[in-house]
């Protein structure tokens, strides 16, 4: 404080004002407040272990499953063959033009998400999202090395001793190993897994494989080890979308304040009826991987992993109160509940028009796809009529049209097809590059699982062409089977 000179007091007009951006008043950037989730045990923790085991097993094992498709196709059960433009899924093989099956799957995933969210809320976020699963996995490692919540907080705040360095280095080393395995597993979906694995360790794999593993290792390590709950809160659009799809009949993790409040740490007041069941132990906050307090009500950050339910239930068991102070409950039941007349949510919340519509839509799309898949052709024909020139007059006055015929042998075996023409009386065709005499049908070998393109010249006497265009068909038939495909083509009469 500057001691002012007496005379200056009258000369200087002091204003009581503060700069609006005075730094004490605001933080522009907020560092992450660390979360140290405490280990809990209970129903939902067990469920989450099962889901984690299942999802991780599917992810790591799937590319290694073999599936015999004969000598002309890969024997990997699930394979996205980008250079070959094929997608293999067990007994299904998809060509690029059959991509609508993937579109159908995406529609099913969308409607399925509506269904799941309208019934069990953000179950995807809480149980099956890769971010949730991998953070859970990383936490297992963290707990095993550094101990549970209190030990971790202590270690984090403590000085850098040899013990802390050892623990941190081993934790990060194991995280990195998991990250490499995660990124490494991904690439096996895109090539023959055993071959790629051999080439990968021999540094003989394509550069894109190493780049992919590198990027996915980095994202797994950073997202699972460091960013964690921030991915859900700041990066992911899913919580916003899912939040918009919930309604008052969807299950959410709910703190039943009608039963818990006013919270009190003294048992006596509960029996007096002056306090609720919440003993304010904060176990629900300590258990939360998102670092929030569920007692503040529904919030964006909550991924509904239900670990707070497990934490609270064990406390309720200990103090002898009934379980379910924090529970899966619908907003409707929560609003209707009072201490004297609690309303518990059962499976009946699933039964309502909205879920029926979603289920029906989902099944309809699924059945339609299944039907299309089971009845689809493994032989297809596409015909391109030459446009330039549309028709050619030959020296004897015969009219000739050219067609590019594409025959798709979508089976993984070599096949011989008979290509023939129906209609166009008096017409005949020749195969470009082939010296066989003109005929109305010829045989064609097509290699396994490829499209063969041929050029066919069809000729017809001008006298038989009554109109400018004459319709006829190309028919292609599998000589060994009964599969057949046809294309309705037009034959153009020359103008002169």
């Amino acid at each position: 404080m500057l001691k002012s000179v007496g005379s200056a007091d009258e000369q200087v007009d002091r204003v009581d004002v503060e700069a609006v951006n005075k730094k004490e008043n605001r933080t522009l950037y907020q560092a992450r407040i660390k979360v140290f989730p405490k280990r809990v045990s209970g129903t939902f923790r067990r469920l989450k272990w099962y889901v984690m085991a299942l999802t991780l097993t599917i992810y790591y094992i799937t590319p290694w499953i073999r599936w015999d498709r004969g000598p002309y196709a890969p024997d990997q059960a699930v394979l996205v063959d980008i250079p070959g433009r094929r997608f293999y899924f067990f007994f299904i093989e998809i060509w690029p033009q059959e991509f609508y099956y993937i579109a159908g799957l995406l529609i099913m995933a969308g409607v399925g998400l509506f269904l799941v969210t309208s019934t069990v809320g953000r179950a995807w976020c809480g149980y099956t999202c890769p971010q949730t699963v991998w953070v859970d996995l990383f936490l297992v490692v963290e707990r095993a090395i550094e101990g549970d919540r209190n030990a971790r907080i202590k270690l984090d705040k403590g000085p850098w001793t040899g013990d802390k360095i050892t623990k941190r280095v081993s934790k990060h080393a194991i995280w990195l190993m998991i990250a490499v395995a995660t990124g490494g597993a991904w690439i096996f979906y895109f090539a023959d897994a055993p071959t790629l694995a051999r080439n990968f360790v021999a540094f003989d794999a394509p550069a894109v494989a190493y780049a992919t593993v590198g990027i996915l290792t980095a994202t797994t390590y950073i997202f699972g080890g460091f960013l964690r709950e921030q991915v859900c809160t700041y990066m992911c659009p899913w919580p916003r979308i899912q939040g918009a799809m919930l309604d008052e009949d969807s299950l959410t993790v709910t703190y039943n304040d009608w039963r818990g409040e006013p919270r009190s740490r003294h048992r006596k007041s509960v029996s007096d009826g002056l306090a609720g069941d919440c003993v304010d132990c904060n176990q629900c906050v300590a258990a939360c991987p998102m670092g929030i307090d569920i007692r503040d009500g529904q919030q964006l950050e909550c991924i509904t992993c239900a670990l707070c339910i497990d934490a609270c239930d064990s406390v309720m068991d200990k103090v002898g109160s009934p379980r379910g102070l924090i529970s899966y409950s619908t907003l409707q039941d929560y609003n209707a509940s009072t201490r004297d007349a609690p309303k518990h949510t059962g499976l009946s919340s699933f039964i309502r028009p909205r879920t029926f519509v979603y289920t029906a839509l989902w099944s309809l799309v699924g059945l339609a796809m299944l039907y299309a898949l089971l009845t689809r052709d493994r032989l297809d024909i596409n015909v391109l009529h030459d446009r330039n020139p549309l028709a050619v007059v030959l020296s004897d006055g015969t009219v000739r049209n050219g067609y590019t015929i594409k025959i798709l042998n979508m089976k993984a075996e070599p096949r011989t097809f008979s290509v023939s023409m129906e209609g166009l009386i008096g017409g005949s065709m020749t195969l470009s590059g082939n010296d066989a005499a003109a005929a109305r049908s010829f045989d064609l070998d097509v290699a396994p699982d490829v499209m063969r393109s041929i050029k066919v010249y069809v000729s017809a006497p001008r006298s038989t062409l009554e109109t400018e265009e004459t319709g006829f068909r190309f028919v292609v038939t599998d000589k060994a089977g009964d599969e057949t495909a046809a294309y309705d083509a037009n034959f153009a009469r020359a103008n002169r």
């Binding site: 950037y29 560092a31 700041y234 020139p389 007059v393």
Partner: protein, 301 residues
């Protein structure tokens, strides 16, 4: 302004912006977001150093890696050519008939021939090789100088009436009217006779008179039955194909003034492999003839 408004529920400061009662909170940005922002700046600086970035007067700063899209393209073309090596050697080392007989070489030659055709030939023969008045349609089965692989190859390589090439196809039809070899009536009669050869509308009396003229003046090259002579590039007159037009006025004009189509010899402009591919492509357009049976077009019946 001096009074900060705080959101009642969360206690967070607001920006003072309000829409329909919804106020924007001035939440601090997560710090990792800031680090990401700095990381992009560092990335950008590295990018500017390694890759072409700052525009200078004539070009841009080259960048330490020396990368350019042009060089990359050149490399990719070289790699693509390298992958085609076997096919290219196949084209170089095999005779035309063998190329046509091999399915892969045939496809490669047709594709390559189509590209070369689009660059060199469509100016006269049209993009669909359908020709125009005076420029032969290459899709049909009527050939002035022959339609076998070897014939087509020779025509492309040495050209037609291209005087700089010793082996070019050469022939010349007299201008019967201009040079006063025939008078107008005779030419008119001969035109009627030519029309009659392929069954087109004609004056029978004139055609009968013209027949004698034809046998004397025209049959040496066009043959007595009008089937033409490929060794002289004399077109068949008894078929449905007319290079310059099949009406009487055009025929009179052709007989009076003659026609003299020229095609350059491509042997000194295109390499042999390209000419081979062009040959295969043109031959595969539908009118190509087989080597052994040098069949002549059947007369218009």
């Amino acid at each position: 302004m001096s009074e900060k408004e705080h959101d009642e529920f969360s206690g967070t400061e607001t920006t003072g912006h309000e829409w329909d009662g919804i106020k924007e909170l001035n939440s601090p940005l997560p710090r990792w977001w800031l680090w990401t922002f700095y990381a992009t700046i560092i990335w950008g600086i590295g990018y500017m150093i390694l890759y072409p970035a700052w525009p200078l007067i004539e070009s841009a700063t080259p960048g330490l890696l020396g990368w350019s899209s042009r060089a990359e393209l050149t490399e990719e073309i070289a790699a693509a050519r390298d992958e085609q090596r076997e096919l290219r050697e196949g084209i170089d080392n095999n005779p035309l008939a063998a190329i046509r007989a091999d399915q892969d070489l045939f496809q490669f030659a047709v594709a390559g021939g189509r590209s070369a055709f689009a660059v060199n030939c469509i100016q006269c023969h049209g993009s669909g090789a359908a020709g125009d008045v005076g420029y032969p349609n290459l899709n049909d089965d009527a050939w002035l100088w022959g339609g076998t692989l070897d014939d087509i190859y020779h025509s492309i390589r040495h050209g037609i009436r291209f005087e700089d090439d010793d082996q070019t196809h050469y022939s010349e039809m007299p201008a019967f009217g201009r040079d006063e070899l025939l008078d107008k009536d005779q030419i008119s009669d001969v035109a009627d006779y030519v029309l009659s050869l392929s069954g087109l509308d004609h004056d029978s009396a004139a055609a009968a008179r013209g027949q004698a003229v034809y046998q004397q003046e025209c049959s040496i090259c066009h043959m007595e039955d009008g089937s033409g002579d490929r060794t002289q590039g004399a077109p068949a007159l008894n078929d449905a194909i007319w290079l310059h037009g099949g009406d009487k006025d055009t025929i009179v004009d052709v007989v009076t003034n003659s026609r003299r189509g020229v095609m350059p010899a491509w042997g000194n402009r295109l390499d042999d492999a390209t000419i081979k591919k062009l040959t295969i492509y043109v031959h595969a357009l539908g009118g190509g003839e087989q080597e052994a049976s040098n069949q002549s077009p059947e007369g218009g019946e």
